[in-house]
């Protein structure tokens, strides 16, 4: 296991949104070790997306301290942006551009140039089965194709840490399978992955470490085995999840 060295260190992270009395994140402290696939799970409104947005520098925390690969989130955001890749929940692509044009723009911004960029785009389009549709406008892509391209755009510059916010939501089994398989390979190649999902079975198979968030608090954490040992070894992750978060609707 490569889970000795901490790459993300979160201490007492708090986030209040304007107009809300309750915090979205209430003093969360977590540590993500280098090379792990870290599953951030929780019901709707638990604070997962808020946490990812803070770690990516899109939102400023109200309080707490975050260090990513030794860089302070508060002071070293430009450096952090160079080593992270983000795959947001929404299809964050330009629909009037082709797949290759989208990737050329994002890759260029991430510092890739010329033949390096071209080779990397070709490689990823091939891996995710999009090379034949690379000149098609994203507008005409299917949901699964868009999801795959959304992922590729976050992988272009071979990030040290990859943040994935529900990367497989709303797609067919084949696309989901391609994404999960490739995420495992990317992780094996050394990329640390922070992953949120509602698909607990997927998380169960993919994640080496899990934290369950609810109402802004971490209510469970550990490897899957550690969590099972605490809540009942025969239970599936979904049963454990329901047991500790309850069955009430959250949104």
């Amino acid at each position: 296991m490569k889970q000795e060295k901490s790459i993300i260190d979160i201490q007492d992270l708090t986030k209040y949104y304007r107009g809300y009395a309750k915090p979205a994140l209430d003093g969360v402290s977590l540590c993500v070790s280098e090379g792990m696939i870290f599953g951030l799970l929780g019901p709707n409104g638990a604070g997962k997306t808020t946490m990812i947005r803070i770690l990516c520098g899109l939102l400023a925390p109200t309080g707490g301290k975050v260090t990513i690969a030794g860089y302070s989130l508060k002071h070293d955001l430009p450096e952090i942006r160079r080593i992270i890749g983000v795959v947001p929940q929404e299809i964050a692509l330009y629909p009037s551009l082709t797949a290759r044009e989208n990737l050329a723009v994002f890759g260029g911004i991430c510092g890739l140039r010329g033949s390096v960029l071209k080779t990397r785009i070709d490689e990823l389009l091939h891996i995710f089965g999009l090379e034949k549709k690379q000149k098609m406008l994203i507008d005409r892509y299917s949901g699964g194709m868009k999801r795959r391209l959304n992922l590729i755009a976050g992988l272009l510059h071979k990030p040290q840490i990859l943040f994935l916010d529900e990367p497989t939501v709303g797609i067919d089994v084949q696309s989901k399978n391609v994404i999960i398989e490739n995420l495992m390979e990317i992780n094996l190649a050394g990329t640390t992955i922070v992953y949120t999902s509602h698909y607990l079975e997927e998380a169960e198979n993919l994640c080496s470490y899990i934290a369950i968030l609810d109402e802004g608090h971490v209510i469970a954490r550990g490897t899957l085995n550690e969590i099972r040992n605490e809540y009942g070894s025969a239970l599936k992750l979904e049963d454990i999840f329901l047991e500790i978060t309850g069955k009430n609707l959250r949104d």
Binding site: E90, L93, Y94, E101, L137
Partner: protein, 425 residues
Amino acid sequence: MRTILNLIYKDYLVIMRDRGGLAMLFIMPLALVLIMTSLQDNTFRAINESGINLVIRNDDADSLGMAIEREIYLSDFFTVHRFIDNKVPTEKEIRDAVASGRYQFGMIIPEGSTRRIREQVKNNVTLLFAGDSTVTPVSDSVLIRLYVDPATKNSLRSSLQSSIREYTTQVESRIILNELTREMNKHMMLPLANLNRMKQETVFYTEEYVARGDKKVIPNSVQHNVPAWTLFAMFFIVIPFASSMIKEREDGSLSRLLTMPCSYTSVLISKILVYLVVCYLQFLSIMAMGIYLFPLFGLPALIIGGRLADLSVMAVMASMAAIGYGISVGTIARTHQQAAIFASISVVILAAMGGIWVPVFIMPPLFRQISVISPLNWGLNGFYDILVRNASLPEVLHYGIWMMLFSAGCLLTALYYHKLRKEFN
């Protein structure tokens, strides 16, 4: 720099792929300038080229009636009609025709008007020469009836009234001088020449449109309208600009950019540069239309008198003001609807305040003072000073500086709001 080049490439592709948006950016402003200038030009011609219909019934076959009819005919303001449906109209027919809007004015000069003036003057002169100061001069008025279409401008009505008054006074004074001559000759040993010979015009005036330097400028509706509506059209770029920003924010692509080595300032710089080119091309296409296409539509050609470079500087600065405004609207508005409604209404308000619709000098005093805070007013003054007042670029640069400061203010507001949104959203 590489980041900005990549962003420019992206913004260029996004604009080029949006055919509807491109049409809005170029065809609509051209159509707006063409239509508004044509409309304004027609109004201008309606007043200047016998466009106003006047029906007259002249029952006075003498000096007054003939003078009024002749002068109105020669004035070029009116198309004079003596018949309605090929027959001399009655007073009622004139009244009804004006009420229906067929004619803007109807005029009836009663029978014997000149004779009554002559008799009245004659009596009064005779009485005066009789030396009886107790006798009050006779006053028997002549009533010229004028019917006015309610849709006609007050200024036209006033203009016609004062013209009639002027012609009447001329005829009256001629009759007075004739009668005075006749009466004086009765009392004098040597006959006196007709006093009407004294009645010579001694006061004349010349008129010249003055501009700086030696350049002679003859303003027309095109010279006035093209700069005004070009600015208005350029400011309407606020809507597609703000909309593109909101779309990028809503679909998450802005968020993706901001998780990469790319700042919000870089995103804005790229958009400013791309839309600046769009605005400048808009400006050039409108100028080209004014110069080459307007004559094909029967309009006077736009004359820029070799000042394209100076006009371009003002156009770029006006574009910066429009884009800056678009950035602040696009950053602050939360939805497309908010941005579209706010941007369109606020641009119309700024245009109205700035003198695009109505010249500033005829605004009420309060609005005249307010007009100086509209960036469209700065742009309009800059364009007018160059185009019709022949001002040099340094003389109008202060308007450009105001527009650049406005743009900078908008930009800083947007950056500050973006920071606030990141912290408190």
